[in-house]
Amino acid sequence: GQQVMQIPQYQHVQEGEDFTTYCNSSTTLSNIQWYKQRPGGHPVFLIQLVKSGEVKKQKRLTFQFGEAKKNSSLHITATQTTDVGTYFCAAFWRGSQGNLIFGKGTKLSVKP
């Protein structure tokens, strides 16, 4: 079964609005990664969070790792049409020989 639950599945926003996607796990995660996949493209690594309560920023993107290391979020401020794509969280899961397992993703569409 899915080890990391991601919501929402879809998000439609007007350009300039903010966007947030959430990732939750029932177990404590060693770390969590975020990837972006543009339509027709392949996943591209964005960031890795390791520490409890960690917050990292990349321009308009803010990534957070929960204090209990069971949840994470990606927030985009003032979305642009270039932000369109699917955002996946991914975590290493012991049940998969420690390999990277992906959430279902949040598909973001931005209306100009």
Binding site: P43, S96, Q97, L100, K104
Partner: protein, 113 residues
Amino acid sequence: SAVISQKPSRDICQRGTSLTIQCQVDSQVTMMFWYRQQPGQSLTLIATANQGSEATYESGFVIDKFPISRPNLTFSTLTVSNMSPEDSSIYLCSAGLGGGELFFGEGSRLTVL
């Protein structure tokens, strides 16, 4: 970083046939993986390609259906055997350098008729 080349980029195959997808990395990498992605869906890990030994398969995937080779640190192949329409998907090769992040190839889009 690593640049990953996959071929074919897409193919249309007949039911019952087999197709081998090749994955070439521009540098030696410690880990290589094969994922499957249905259109509009998430990535599902098929197996870890182990250099010089048998691949490690995830639950629901078996060697007879998805034989994998990895003869060296820069190359791997995935074969989809005895294909059925349910195998229609995008197959993605990925590589890790040891820092945790994965780099992905462009994917091979397979359609089985």
